[in-house]
Amino acid sequence: LGAALGTVLVVLGLVSAACLWALVDIHDRLHQVKEEEEGARRIVWLTSAIRDQYAHIAHTIIIDNDSHAELFRRASSRVLELAQQTKGTAGLEAASAQVDRILASSREMERLFDEQIRPAIRRGDRAAAIAAHDRVLSLAFQSQGDADALVAKAEASMENLNNHVRATQHGAIRLTIIAHVLGVATAIVVGLYLFRSIARPIAALESAAKRIGEGDLDARVTIERDDELGRLGQRFNEMARATKDHQAEAVRTERLAGLGRMAAAIAHELNNPVGVIMGYANLLLRRDGAPEREMLVAIEEEAERCQQVIAGLLELTRGSVLQVTPVALRALVDDVVARLRVAGAPAGVEVTVEGEAQALADEPRLRHVLTNLVGNALEAAGAQGRVSIAISATEGGGASVTVGDNGAGVREEDRTHIFEPFFTRKANGTGLGLSIARAIARAHGGDVDLVATAGAGATFRLTLPAGKAETRS
C-alpha cells in the first residue's frame, strides 16, 4: 500500500509539473502571438503610410501645385520609422528583405517626387509628371504587395501559434482532470485506510471504555496489531483486568472489615457478661463444699473458652495501633519459654534457643505471637519431644524467629487453612492463635509463615522488618 501510495504521489507530482510547464508554454506562445500581432499591425500601418506617400504625389499632380510637399515628407518619414520598427520586431527577421524592398521603393518614390514630379509641376510639364507618376504607382503597388505578403505571413505564424496554444491547453486540461481524479481517488483510499487503521480501533476502545464506565469490568478490546494502537489495546485490557482485580480485592477487604467490625462489637458486648459468668463460677468453686462441683467446673471451662474466643477476636480486630519499643528478642523468647514451662509444658520436652537480635515491636503483642508459636510447638512436640528456636537479624535491620518442632507436622490439605480464623485440629483450640499471630506480625509490617514441614514436625517463621522508632498507627 505504501509503494502504491508513493507511485500515485509521484504520478501526481509529474502531472502537476506537466501542467505547470504547459501553462508556462501557453504564456510564452501568447506573448509571441501578441508580438506578431504588433508586427502585423505595424505592417498594416506601413502599407497605409506608403499609400499616403502615393496619395500626396497624386494630389500634387492633380492640384498642380507644391502644397502637399510637406505632407509627403511626413508620410515618408513615417514609412522609414515603421519599416525600421518592423525590422526590429521578433519573428519578422525573415521578412527583412521585403521590408528593405519597401524602404527602397519608398526612397525611390521620394526621389521621383523631388527630382521629377515637383520640378515638372513647377515647370508646368504635366506630361513629365504623369510619366513619373506611373513609375510611382508601380512602386506603390509593389510595396502594397510586399506588405500584404508580410501580413499574410504574420497571420499564418499567429494561426500556427494559436493552434499550438490550443493543443497545449487541451493537454493541460486533460492533465488537470487526471490530477483531480487521481487526487480524489487517493484521498478516498487514504481516508478509508485511516478510518480502518485509526478510527475503528479508537471506536472499539471508546465503546469498551464506556462499558467499563458503566460497570462492566469484563469489557475487552481486540486490536490485533503490532503498533502503538495494538499496544494501547493491550494496556487497556491489562488495565481493565487490574481494575477488576482491585475492585474484587476492595470488595473483599471491605466485607472482611465489616465482618471484623461486627466481630469486634459482638466480642466487646460479650466480654462483660462472660466475665461475670466466669467470675461467679470461679468464686463458687473456691467455696469449701461447693455443691454440684462438676457442673460449676463445666460452666467455668466453657465460659473460659468463650472468653478465649472473645479475647482472640478482640486481638484479631484490634487494628494496627502499635506501641513500638526496642525489644531484645532473646530475652523475650527465653521468658516466653520459661512461662510456658511453668504453665505446664509437656514433660521432658527439650527446648533449644539460639541466636539474638533486636527488633522494634509492640512488646506485649510480640510476646503474644511468640507465646502462640512456641506454645503450639511444645504441644506438637509432646512429651520427650524437641523444640528448636533460632533468632537472627535479617538484612536491612529486621529480625526473624524460627520455631521448629519434631511433632506430627501440618497435614498437606491444612497448609492453606492454618492461618484462617477458627480453623483448628485441636480438641480444645479456638482456631484463632495463628491468625492472630499473623495479624500482629503483619500489623508490624512482618509476617508469620509455615516455612517447612518436611517429614516429622513443622517450622514456623516470624519475620519483623526494620521498622521505625515512632509509634505507628
Binding site: 466487646h268 466480654n271 462483660n272 457478661p273 462472660v274 466475665g275 461475670v276 466466669m278 467470675g279 461467679y280 470461679n282 468464686l283 473456691r286 472468653q307 472473645i310 479475647a311 478482640l314 486481638e315 484490634r318 495501633v321 506501641q323 519499643t325 520459661a338 512461662r339 514451662r341 511453668v342 504453665a343 512488646e363 506485649p364
Partner: protein, 215 residues
C-alpha cells in the same frame, strides 16, 4: 492487723459490680458506684483506700475519674479495669498517677492481688510520710517506683506482672515461705495465693526459713 481496706468499685454493669463486691467483700469494705459522678459523690462523703473503676462508662469514663481522684484525693490509689485493646491507654493513665490496671475479663485472684498491692502501696506511702507508724510493714515489698517517671515499656512491665511477681516474692520472703500467713497479710485467700504463686512460677519452698517478719 487487718489487711482489709475501703474499696470503691465503679462499673456501669450491675452484675459486674456485684461480682467485684462478692470477690472483695470477704476481706474489704466495699462500696459500689454506677458511674464517675456517683463515685465522686461517695468519695466526698467518706475516705477510700482504693478506687477500682471500669474504663468505659457512659458519662464520666474511668480515665477522667482517675485524674480527678488523684488530684483531689492523692492518697487514694486508683486501679483501672480495661479491655485488652485499651491497655496502652491504661498504661498511660498509670504514668499519670493511676496505680495499676486489671484486664477484663479477669481472674478473681488477680483482682484480689492487685487490690492487695494497691493497699500495700498506700500504706507504704503513709508510712513514709509518718515514719513512726507502719515502719514495720515497710520491709514487705520493694520500694515503690514512681510510675510517672517510667517509660511506657517500664510502666507496662511493672503493670503486667513484674509488680505482682516482686510483691509475691517479697511477701513470701517476709513470712519465710509460710503461705497461710503471707495470704493473711495480703488479704488473700490461702488458695488464691497458691494459684497466683503457681501462675507466676514461684515456689514457696524456696523462701522457707529466709525471713522472719511476723505479727
Amino acid at each position: 492487723v487487718t489487711a482489709g481496706g475501703r474499696i470503691l468499685v465503679v462499673d456501669d454493669k450491675a452484675n459486674m459490680r456485684q461480682l467485684l463486691r462478692d470477690i472483695l467483700a470477704a476481706r474489704h469494705q466495699v462500696r459500689l458506684a454506677a458511674d464517675g459522678g456517683e463515685a465522686i459523690a461517695l468519695l466526698e462523703k467518706e475516705p477510700f483506700d482504693v478506687v477500682l473503676t471500669d474504663v468505659r462508662m457512659p458519662g464520666m469514663g474511668g480515665f477522667e475519674l482517675a485524674q480527678i481522684v488523684k488530684k483531689r484525693w492523692p492518697e487514694t490509689e486508683v486501679v483501672l479495669m480495661t479491655a485488652h485493646a485499651s491497655i496502652p491507654a491504661a498504661v498511660e493513665a498509670m504514668r499519670q498517677g493511676a496505680y495499676d490496671y486489671v484486664e477484663k475479663p479477669f481472674d478473681p485472684d488477680d483482682v484480689s492481688l492487685v487490690v492487695a498491692r494497691a493497699l500495700e502501696r498506700g500504706r507504704e506511702r503513709a508510712g513514709a510520710a509518718a515514719p513512726d507508724s507502719g515502719a514495720r510493714d515497710a520491709a514487705v515489698t520493694p520500694p515503690p517506683r514512681d510510675l510517672a517517671e517510667l517509660s511506657y515499656r517500664e510502666a507496662l512491665a511493672e503493670a503486667r506482672d513484674r509488680g505482682s511477681r516482686d510483691y509475691l516474692t517479697a511477701l513470701l520472703k517476709a513470712f519465710g515461705g509460710n503461705v497461710s500467713r503471707a495470704a493473711a497479710k495480703a488479704g488473700l485467700e490461702r488458695e488464691s495465693l497458691h494459684r497466683l504463686l503457681r501462675r507466676h512460677g514461684i515456689r514457696a519452698e524456696h523462701y522457707r526459713g529466709e525471713g522472719s517478719a511476723g505479727d
